[in-house]
């Protein structure tokens, strides 16, 4: 029980990922598939950010000059910034993937006048 409660963010990431995965596989509508893909990617962001999270830690900045009281110089005192930075890059990638996919959906809709996969497959046969 403690295993589940204390690491709840990781459990949520797995659940989110599986919801996204289900939507990609199970849904026939292309937009729903795309939303599933986005949930899948967002789950990854949650995972990376939770790996960096720390209770009671501060930002990784050493403050100099007047009035500087605290120096977060030990690894336990500050939050690891790298996963956040990685996720900034990954978010950019995900947004552009989403944009390309939406453009493709517009192209598909103009061609077939529908976004249901089974109707498109029927139309192409």
């Amino acid at each position: 029980m403690e295993f589940i409660v204390c690491k709840y963010n990781y459990w949520i990431y797995i659940v989110l990922m599986m919801i996204g995965f289900y939507a990609i596989i199970g849904k026939k509508n292309l937009v729903k598939k795309l939303v599933g893909m986005n949930i899948f990617q967002t789950a990854l962001i949650l995972y990376f950010v939770s790996t960096a999270a720390k209770k009671g830690a501060t930002i990784p900045i050493v403050s100099h000059g007047h009035g500087a009281t605290e120096h977060a110089i030990h690894a336990a005192q500050y939050v690891n910034p790298l996963p956040h930075v990685l996720m900034l890059t990954a978010i950019v990638v995900m947004v552009s993937t989403f944009g390309v996919a939406l453009a493709l959906i517009i192209m598909i809709y103009r061609r077939y006048k529908t976004l249901e996969e089974d109707e498109i497959l029927k139309a192409t046969k």
Binding site: P83, A90, S96, T97, V100, L104
Partner: protein, 499 residues
């Protein structure tokens, strides 16, 4: 250990040119093509210089922004990626030369953006190969994939749907890869490949590392279209414009195979990826399925391009089987096959592009007497086809030879049998096409309109298409003739010493 700016130049030159192309194209459309040629020419030149430097002095490092690893991003070029870099940039250079007429015919109003995205794709591919950082590899993987989605989508009728499926599958693959990076990061705190390979051996029995490795393998298998995960490839490569197929089909999947070898034998050491984890036997059996499935399904196709797509599935199987057998001979075969396959597939897809350019059809049964119309193109097709079948002086023979030797050495007789059977299947496959093109039908068909074959005059593809095809065709022969030297100088240094 030397430092040199070439690794970054190889990636930066096409990237910067990709940004200049829309600007220059807005001013003068005709300047796009020379700019692409120029930038890819420098790219090829730099990668050949790099290969030369690596052969002379060993691994080259470049630290981005002067930050030393493991803090900064590092570009590492050793024997393996120097060779793959040279081959990929060489191929994309010649495909770019070839693209002029084909793009003018198929996509007349999209030339500017086509070339911009083309260069971004090349940037992504070369970046994947040159980088020594796990996360940087993910970014380049997505740059290459995004460019590929866009390029595929401008193809013929079914292309947008095929491209959409590729987006979904490709994104799942990339996400799995990223998840693998994340799992490795939480146990080691590093993203640098060389650093990881030193930190990981102590953690080989950790479950997190096992999960990370599994995620890597599934993600990369999706990207390289290994058998059960190949479904996106067939439609995407069939419906793409001919030039795009000729660029993506040889390079994308092979770069995926390169990443697999890099992760298995550089980031993880062979004593993990071969001894501790049954990945090699899984890969081997998947490869067997891929080879048989690809070769047999290819027999059923009447569309020449779709047939070649199934051949790619089988060829990926060859690389995977080499990694799956995992002894010295088989790995030499697998790495040699990555290089050979880039040339063979480029050759065949370029020829298909030329056929489409001249006749407008890809149906095998409508290509009769094509050798009278396009004698040189068809001669190059025969070279490529014979190389895929594995006829001795051509390069395809040597990689298969090493794979079979490796399978013998490991005593895996099923793999030997599959490799031999697939050669026979490939022979049937390509001789069926060659027969349809070259040979007279046994019974003269009177229904044929337009008279006999003598009425067809030579109407060869334009020179800008012929020269790249000729160069790639000559490359197939040269790679075959000098394969012993290539193995001595380059490939034997790429095999991990413990194997």
């Amino acid at each position: 250990m030397t430092s040199s700016p070439f690794p970054i130049l190889i990636v930066i030159v096409p990237l910067i040119s990709a940004f200049f192309i829309p600007i220059i194209g807005w001013w003068k459309r005709n300047l796009c093509y020379p700019l692409v040629i120029l930038s890819l020419f420098f790219c090829t030149l730099f990668s050949i210089l790099t290969l030369n430097a690596v052969i002379q002095n060993g691994t080259i490092h470049y630290y981005l922004g002067g930050w030393h690893p493991p803090w900064g991003i590092e570009y590492v070029v050793d024997h393996l990626n120097a060779f793959v870099l040279a081959i990929i940039s060489f191929t994309s250079f010649f495909v770019a030369i070839y693209s002029k007429k084909s793009v003018e015919q198929e996509l007349p109003d999209k030339i500017v953006f086509f070339y911009a995205v083309y260069l971004l794709l090349v940037t992504g591919l070369l970046g994947i190969i040159a980088t020594g950082d796990m996360f940087n590899l993910y970014v380049f993987l997505e740059i290459a994939s995004l460019a590929a989605y866009a390029l595929i989508a401008i193809g013929e009728d079914g292309a947008p749907l095929a491209s959409f499926r590729y987006v979904i599958m490709g994104t799942i693959g990339a996400c799995f890869y990223l998840l693998g990076v994340g799992y490795l990061y939480i146990v080691t705190g590093s993203l640098n490949m060389a650093d990881l390979s030193e930190l990981l051996p102590k953690l080989y029995h950790s479950k997190v590392v096992l999960v990370a490795f599994t995620f890597f393998m599934v993600g990369i298998a999706l990207k390289m279209a290994l058998f059960p995960l190949h479904t996106w490839l067939l439609d995407a490569y069939t419906y793409a414009p001919s030039t795009v197929s000729a660029l993506i089909a040889p390079t994308m999947t092979k770069v995926g195979a390169y990443v697999m070898i890099r992760v298995m034998f550089t980031v993880f050491k062979p004593d993990f990826s071969i001894s501790l984890f049954p990945i090699t036997s899984i890969l081997g059996w998947l490869a067997v399925a891929a080879i048989l499935f690809g070769s047999i399904m290819a027999l059923a196709q009447s569309d020449l391009k779709r047939m070649l797509c199934f051949v790619i599935v089988a060829e990926i199987g060859y690389i995977a089987i080499g990694v799956g057998i995992a002894n010295r001979m088989a790995l030499i075969g697998a790495i040699l096959h990555i290089v050979n396959d880039v040339f063979m597939m480029a050759c065949l897809f370029l020829v298909v592009g030329a056929i489409v350019y001249k006749t407008g059809t890809r149906n095998i049964y409508q290509l009769r007497y094509l050798h009278r119309k396009l004698p040189l193109t068809m001669a190059i097709f025969v070279i490529g086809a014979l190389s895929v079948v594995g006829i001795p002086p051509l390069c395809g023979f040597f990689s298969k030879w090493y794979l079979i030797l490796g399978a013998f050495e490991a005593g895996k007789w099923v793999f030997v049998a599959v490799l031999l059977v697939s050669s026979l299947l490939n022979a049937i496959l390509f001789f069926r096409v060659i027969e349809n093109i070259y040979l007279e039908p046994r019974e003269p068909s009177y229904a044929h309109d337009g008279g006999g074959p003598e009425a067809i005059s030579i109407d060869e593809a334009p020179l800008s298409m012929l020269i790249p095809m000729f160069v790639i065709g000559a490359g197939i022969i040269l790679l075959g003739v000098f394969s012993g030297k290539i193995i001595d100088v380059v490939i034997q240094h790429t095999i991990p010493p413990t194997i």
